[in-house]
């Protein structure tokens, strides 16, 4: 056996091996047709190698003619498969060229079987046997070339053009490696194939080696496909790695969420479906498999908080702002739970909200602690009010004794008028009217006292700060007279409303006024002047407006180092004082989200100021801060 047989056989074997491998690959992944096409290509290339070897060993002209006739079958298969591969795998090459090649090649195949002995030869006159490059003796035909064979050459030319065109497309697409390896080998192979017509026309004198021209292409195709397979395998490994990582991240997330008692949720707005973690279900008291939609969620909200939650959600859906709220959820067993919700809306292009993701966390303990703190704060405030009232008892007794005195004297006057007989009814009527109005006045005083001494929940009202000032002046009026303090009041006009507890704010102002009066006890009577002023101020320079109240006295000034100390509990300069007044005031004002501070006047005395955020223009400014969402 010479090298020729070995080489041609190895070529065929290599092609068949590749064909077998990719057939198996295709069976596993049927959707990738390129693998099947490649497999067919390789089989055809192997068949061509076989035919060529047989032709070289042909003993008779008849044998040779038959072999040439039948080699056209694998060549047809190979050509069509190449075209298909370029179209399917490279997504390149002009379709009309592809169809032309396939059509022409089919025509060549048909003519090949019609014409005798075949397409290439009109007749083969003899076979020439010779030894080629030290190999065994091989057969080469002598004969008259068939003019129809030109058709085969044309199809070969078209194939070359097709390959060149496809290569350029792939190159331009930026896939240069593929253009070089695949396109290059295809162009090179299809140029090499031109030896066939040259041999037939007797121009060159070599055996047919079409199988090598084509198996080069097959090898390049195999390389490319294996590259893809390797790449796919790599991707699969990466995918596996990222899947593991994802799972771990998910587990970590779940661990963190569970540790933080977080319930995570996602609301598909379009389909109105709520997905929520098990922890979240437990938070709201949903059964593990219960289907949740927005209305189910809504039904869990405490009736008092429902409106605010819906408003926050609506605002978030409208503006895309982060959703944030605190609210109470009522569980099916009646248990009430405080929940803080936060979330983010996802929009589709045209600002159409499609889903919302967020977390819910149980803040019942925090709320209870806050309530406890507020309770203590109110207790101290109440205690401080009772103390203040004790200090003002003279003033209050006077406030009550005035109407009572008037009532008594009026009633006794009436008795006397009536005792006289022939009473003047007009006078009696006037007296009774006076008694009624004075009784009402006494009632108001008592009402004020009751409010002042009332313990319990702090009320949040929208209120006018000027009314607070007027109420305090009514309470303290007589005390100011007795202390010879002249009071000047400058009330700002059209002040915005503030939110707060009227009694607690009165308490703060009263404390400041009493302190101011006490600070002036050593002044001469005409110097004892007190100024209460209300107005607005711009806070923090960011345009947030606040209502400002200031109390200015003309007593001594406060040493700079004590400016803050005076607000600490149990700091006092009075012999009988507990030192709670200012610290309670500051606690109250802070709870109202305001600020209380002191400054010294440029000439004499000090001024105490406090500010309060303006009313309820923005929902988020509401002190109760009842939130929304899940």
């Amino acid at each position: 056996m010479s090298w020729i047989t070995i080489v041609w056989s190895m070529n065929a074997a290599a092609c068949l091996t590749l064909a077998a491998i990719y057939l198996v690959v295709w069976c596993k992944q049927r959707q990738v047709l390129a693998h099947l096409v490649f497999s067919i290509t390789a089989v055809a290339a192997a068949a061509i190698a076989g035919f060529e070897l047989a032709m070289m060993h042909a003993g008779t002209v008849g044998q040779y003619e038959a072999l040439i006739r039948w080699i056209h079958v694998p060549v047809w298969v190979l050509t069509v498969a190449f075209v298909a591969f370029v179209r399917l795998y490279l997504h390149a090459g002009r379709p009309w060229l592809a169809w032309s090649i396939c059509g022409l090649r089919t025509l060549v195949l048909i003519l090949n079987f019609i014409l005798t002995p075949n397409l290439n030869f009109r007749r083969i006159t003899s076979l020439r046997h010779f030894s080629w490059w030290g190999g065994e003796m091989i057969s080469m035909p002598f004969g008259v070339a068939n003019p129809w064979g030109l058709l085969s050459s044309v199809s070969l030319l078209l194939l070359l053009i097709f390959f060149v065109d496809a290569t350029i497309t792939v190159w331009r697409r930026g896939d240069r490696r593929r253009a070089l390896v695949l396109g290059g080998s295809m162009i090179f192979g299809s140029i090499l194939a031109w030896h066939v017509p040259l041999v037939i026309w007797g121009i060159i004198d070599v055996p047919f080696f079409l199988c090598f021209a084509y198996s080069g292409i097959v090898a390049a195709m195999g390389y490319e496909l294996s590259y893809d397979l390797l790449h796919a395998a790599q991707l699969a490994r990466q995918l596996q790695a990222s899947e593991t990582e994802l799972r771990e991240t998910q587990e970590r997330m779940e661990l963190a969420a569970n540790a933080a008692e977080l319930g995570m949720w996602m609301w598909d707005i379009v389909r109105d479906e709520v997905w929520i973690t098990d922890k979240g279900r437990a938070l709201f008291g949903f059964a593990p498999l219960e289907k949740i939609d927005f209305n189910r969620f809504r039904s869990r909200l405490h009736p008092e908080d429902r409106e605010s939650v819906l408003q926050a959600l609506e605002k978030s859906l409208r503006t895309g702002a982060e959703y944030e709220s605190e609210y109470r959820a009522v569980l099916p067993d009646g248990q009430v739970r405080w929940i803080a919700g936060r979330g983010q809306v996802e929009f589709k292009g045209d600002r159409q909200p499609v889903r919302m993701r967020g977390v819910a966390v149980d803040i019942t303990k925090r709320k209870q602690a806050e309530e406890q703190t507020a309770h203590h704060r109110n207790e101290i405030a109440h205690l401080s009010r009772v103390t203040t009232l004790g200090e003002l008892s003279g003033s209050i007794a006077h406030e009550l004794s005035l109407p009572l005195s008037a009532i008594l004297s009026n009633a006794q006057a009436a008795q006397r008028v009536l005792a006289h007989g022939g009473a003047d009814l007009t006078e009696v009527r006037e007296i009774l009217n006076d008694i009624v109005s004075e009784d009402k006045r006494a009632g108001e005083v008592i009402q004020r006292l009751r409010q002042w001494l009332k313990k319990g929940e702090v009320q949040q009202h929208s209120l006018r700060i000027n009314e607070v000032v007027e109420d305090v002046l009514k309470l303290i009026h007589d005390d100011l007279i007795n202390q010879h303090v002249t009071i000047d009041v400058e009330l700002g006009r059209n002040l915005p409303l503030v939110t707060g507890d009227p009694v607690q704010l009165q308490q703060v102002l009263l404390n400041l006024v009493v302190n101011a009066c006490d600070a002036m006890t050593n002044c001469d009577a005409p110097e004892r002047r007190l100024l209460i002023r209300t107005g607005t101020e711009t806070r923090n320079g960011n345009g947030n407006c606040a209502v400002l109240v200031s109390v200015t006295d003309r007593g001594g000034s406060i040493p700079e180092e004590k400016m803050e100390q005076i607000f600490e509990p149990f700091f006092t300069t009075k012999e009988e004082g507990m030192g709670l007044g200012l610290s309670v005031c500051r606690t109250i004002i802070t709870a109202h989200r305001g600020k209380l501070w002191a400054t010294n006047n440029t000439d004499r005395g000090a001024t105490f100021h406090f500010n309060l955020p303006i009313g309820t223009s923005d929902g988020e400014e509401v002190i109760t801060n009842n939130g929304k969402g899940s």
């Binding site: 003279g394 004794s401 005035l402 005195s405 008594l408 004297s409």
Partner: protein, 207 residues
């Protein structure tokens, strides 16, 4: 009892309902009443000749009760003052009483207490004024004496005899007798004892 002009009760209180109710009560008890909303208003219409009493609120803005009492005392007013006050003003009440207040009542005040206090005050005013009026009369008589007669009067009330007086004054007994007769006549007394009583009321010291 000397019949004088009818007494008026002056009421000064800044709290209108109380002012009017007290006025009504007093009127119902047949007193003439004049009410004022402040110490200044009262002072503007004050006539020292008018008799009666003052019902005065202790705590008032600007001029308070004690200050009004002070001003009236300085002006030599005799008008008795009844103070009305709230609870807990005892120290001020004591101060008022020390300065000669007629009475001190706490609000709410009972009608009998108030009327009694007013009656007492009016009676006091009447007595004071009568005494005051007597004194003025004696002073007026004293004013008619010549300096010499005045000297003689001081010797007479000291219990000296005419002879001793004449020696002290460096004159004759007859002249002293004439002066003495003039004194007795001008002072409208019949006895030396009567003269002594009159001069004692005026605080004239004997020589």
């Amino acid at each position: 009892m000397i019949a004088g002009p009818s007494p008026t009760v002056f009421v000064v209180d800044d709290y209108a309902p109380l002012r009017s109710s007290i006025s009504r009560l007093l009127r119902a008890a047949d007193f003439a009443v004049a009410a004022f909303a402040s110490a200044e208003e009262f002072l503007a219409q004050f006539d020292p000749q008018r008799v009666g009493c003052l019902v005065l609120d202790l705590a008032m803005p600007s001029l308070n009760g004690l200050e009004l009492q002070h001003i009236l005392a300085k002006a030599g007013s005799l008008l008795p003052i009844i103070f009305l006050t709230g609870h807990g003003d005892i120290p001020k009440g004591v101060q008022a009483m020390k300065h000669g207040a007629s009475d001190f009542l706490t609000k709410p005040v009972n009608d009998t207490d108030l009327l009694a206090a007013v009656r007492v005050a009016i009676e006091k005013d009447r007595v004071l004024r009568r005494e005051h009026a007597g004194l003025s009369e004696i002073r007026a008589r004293l004013a008619t004496l010549t300096p010499r007669e005045r000297e003689v009067l001081e010797y007479v009330v000291a219990g000296k005899l005419n002879k001793q007086i004449a020696v002290d004054l460096g004159t004759v007994e007859q002249t002293v007798k004439v002066h003495r007769a003039h004194v007795m006549e001008k002072m409208r007394v019949r006895s030396v004892a009567e003269l002594v009583r009159l001069t004692q009321r005026c605080g004239i010291s004997a020589r």
